[in-house]
Amino acid sequence: MNSESGVAGSSSQAAGSAVKVQGLCKDFASFASPWDRLVEWGTLGRYCRHETIPALTDVTFDLRRGGALALVGANGAGKSTLLKIVSGTLFPTAGRVEVSGRVASLLELGMGFQPEFSGRENIVFNGRFLGLKDHEIQDRMADIIAFAELEHAIQRPLRTYSSGMLLRLAFAVVAHVDPDILVIDEALAVGDAYFTQKCLVRIRRFRRDGVTLLFASHDPLAVKSLCDEALLLVEGRCLDWGSPDSVLEHYNSLVARGRSSRAILNMEGVPARVSRRSGTEGNSRRSGNSRALVAGFSLTDASGTACRSFMAGDEGIVRIRALFLDHVNEPTVGLLIRDRLGNDVYGTNTWQQQVSTGSCRPGDLLEVGFRIPLNLGPGEYSLTVALHTLESHVHDSFDWIDRLLVFRILSPPAARFTGTAFLRPTLDVTAPVPLQDLQTWTGTLTAAFGGEPPRMYQVGESTPPWFFQGWYPAERGQEDWFAWTRPSFGFIIDLRGSFLELEVGARPDSRGDQATEADISMGPVSLGRFVVAGGAGWTSLRIPIPPEVSGCAGLVRVTVPGWRASAAGEGGDPRLLGLRVRRIHVT
């Protein structure tokens, strides 16, 4: 697709490019003292008194609409700077950045929050910044608070929030602005595992919906599972751009070499622009200083037959032969099993197992066998082998072969399971018995819903947690009632009293003047049937509470036997068939 005008932003709309970065450079000027700046500015720059610190040098990439690009690199490699420039909070020194679409970014922590204001006010404020209209913010408010799980703290000023809570709030806001492009800095690392997981699920949903993702992370799993491309930044330069697997391996091999990244830049004679690699997936990558080399390798089952497919719990044998080109005392031979997403599942080596490998001279061949019970979940795994010294390959890596081979684990048919670990639990189940003590009953309810069940529901209160699925409040501006959309609805109420009073009505516009019949029961005890006249009127019911259920909180269930979703007709609104309830009260 050719853009004739070359107008930033609009031209790439149709071309399917969401973020286009060309020859981007960013320098920071550092003055030793404000006087230096005064001298430089005073002489109109004739006397240069600042030191230029390059943060990004000639970075070029193109992120297509709906794509996901991960920025990989060490701290200070320029990832955050790049994200800030794309977000529009920093300005490039040179180069072009074209962004088309609404950008929502989560940079570092907090995103311009106002510490003195409550969480709710900050949501409004930030929503405005992200370009939401007033009614859009109000419509999404409940969802945002629920997503952040901050119902209890939303009225408190933000300065009382923990960093985890701030992150939750920030992510929840960003997650509800319908961005075209989502920019996320390593912020997610701050949250607890539960919320991080929740965020990742949400980000996946964004991706499914076609949102473009630009993401900086140290977490290889997140990079591999979220992104379809990765870009390796080393000291502000783009060193590699390709599939997440190959870029992460490249990054790991840089770390493995144990040289400073500047040395690597010099050694590789960095091309300013690295062309896109294709099809490295499945290829292995080898690095190391070659003081020893992997000379042979085998994976067999317990009987010694070469094998690539095992039943979970089977034993596998890995044999690694190393040829030494240099004199090495106590070399370490190790292996690493990774799952399909690149997570390290298990790795060990002779050092960690405290097995002596002796002193090896040039020309020696050393063989190490690992007999491993493959207590792994079903799926594909890769094997990586390494020769180095001491505990891990970062010290002095001789030879490191990433993903040398792939093997498969099958689930035993008699005991299926999911996940990556084969844990072999034993299960016991007790037969269901009626609950004897009320303490457990009320305690469980209180813990689950955060408070004691109420004795009364009056419309206008926010009572939803105690209502069972399918209810909704009356439309705004209409009279106040709750309605249910299901053939049966329930609510939990404190039944200590003698009567349960209900004010119910039919949906006035639903079935004309036809009466609706409903059954009511409390727990196992049926209380009979009542009839609600059609039309807009209300029927007051006064139902005696039988002694066997009074004295505790209980579930009251109302069933409409005649309810049929199809009665609403083709494309009809099934909500019109429910009952409405105005007041529920135990007296």
Binding site: K84, S87, F117, F125, R128
Partner: protein, 280 residues
């Protein structure tokens, strides 16, 4: 330097488009002003009522202390009991607006560094927000003052009132222009904030607001001609007290200078704005 010139040119040539873009942020601007007004008295019992109580007490004290207790009299107005208080308020209320806008603008980038660094929006919005907030406050105070004038039967005619308001608006524009320069430079040289504070104090006494120009020795009085703020203050006093209109010459000079200063402020901001987030 070349890049600064280029970025200035780009900014100024894009000013029209920029205005349209700013217009898209008017909801946010309004939100910021509202938030500020509510936030200032957060946690207090009276809340927003303080915005009225403060100026009420201030005007009350000026008029009581100067006109009643000190018995200050203005030449030519010896019979009017509140004349000095009115003289004082006519220029002091606008001056307070000027000071607030200048003072708060100067530190606005530092104060809101969090927003500037983390959210993408036209940063100049912050200046509009400062000016807007101060203008709302000033409007409340000035309305109270006018109510007082009405009560004592000295409300000036409409034309004089319009002149007073026009001069105050121009003074506000002047404050915004100066504030833009000061806030931008303050990011790079933190001394600017201190300098502005000092200059505002000196400026207050170089301008006949709490005193009458006549008490100055004549060379000093001649120097006042070159003080734009003194010219504005005298115009405001004249309008409220004597119901006299400022000459078209003075109005034109003030208007042209205010707009020129605003343009200079925009140019200064445009030249340096790309460096602002880097320094915060």
């Amino acid at each position: 330097m070349v890049s600064a010139v280029r970025s200035t040119w780009k900014f100024l040539s894009g000013l029209g488009g920029g205005l349209v873009k700013l217009l898209g942020y008017r909801d946010l601007l309004w939100q910021m002003i509202r938030t500020d007004l509510r936030g200032r008295y957060r946690g207090s019992l009276l809340g927003l009522s303080w915005t009225v109580v403060h100026p009420l007490v201030m005007i009350g004290i000026y008029i009581l202390v100067f006109s009643r207790l000190m018995g200050a009299r203005l030449a030519g107005h010896t019979d009017a009991p509140y004349a000095f208080g009115i003289y004082l308020c006519a220029a002091l209320l606008p001056w307070n607006l000027f000071t607030e806008v200048m003072g708060r603008s100067t530190t606005v980038f530092l104060e809101h560094a969090n927003l500037v660094k983390k959210m993408a929006f036209p940063n100049i919005l912050l200046h509009l927000y400062v000016a807007g907030t101060a203008a709302v406050h000033a409007a409340i105070v000035m309305c109270l003052f006018l109510l007082f004038l009405l009560a004592v039967g000295q409300l000036p005619p409409l034309a004089a009132l319009a002149a007073w308001i026009l001069l105050t608006v121009l003074q506000l524009v002047l404050a915004m222009g100066l504030g833009l320069v000061a806030s931008t430079l303050n990011v790079f040289f933190r001394d600017v904030g201190q300098i502005v504070t000092v200059l505002l104090q000196v400026g207050f006494w170089l301008t006949p607001i709490v005193y009458v120009a006549d008490i100055l020795p004549s060379p000093a009085r001649r120097m006042l001609r070159f003080n734009l703020l003194a010219r504005i203050a005298q115009g405001q006093q004249e309008a409220i007290l004597n119901h006299g209109l400022p000459g078209p010459g003075l109005t034109a000079i003030v208007a042209v200078l205010a707009l020129a200063v605003l343009a200079a402020g925009l140019a200064c901001y445009a030249a340096l704005r790309h460096g602002i987030p880097d320094e915060l």
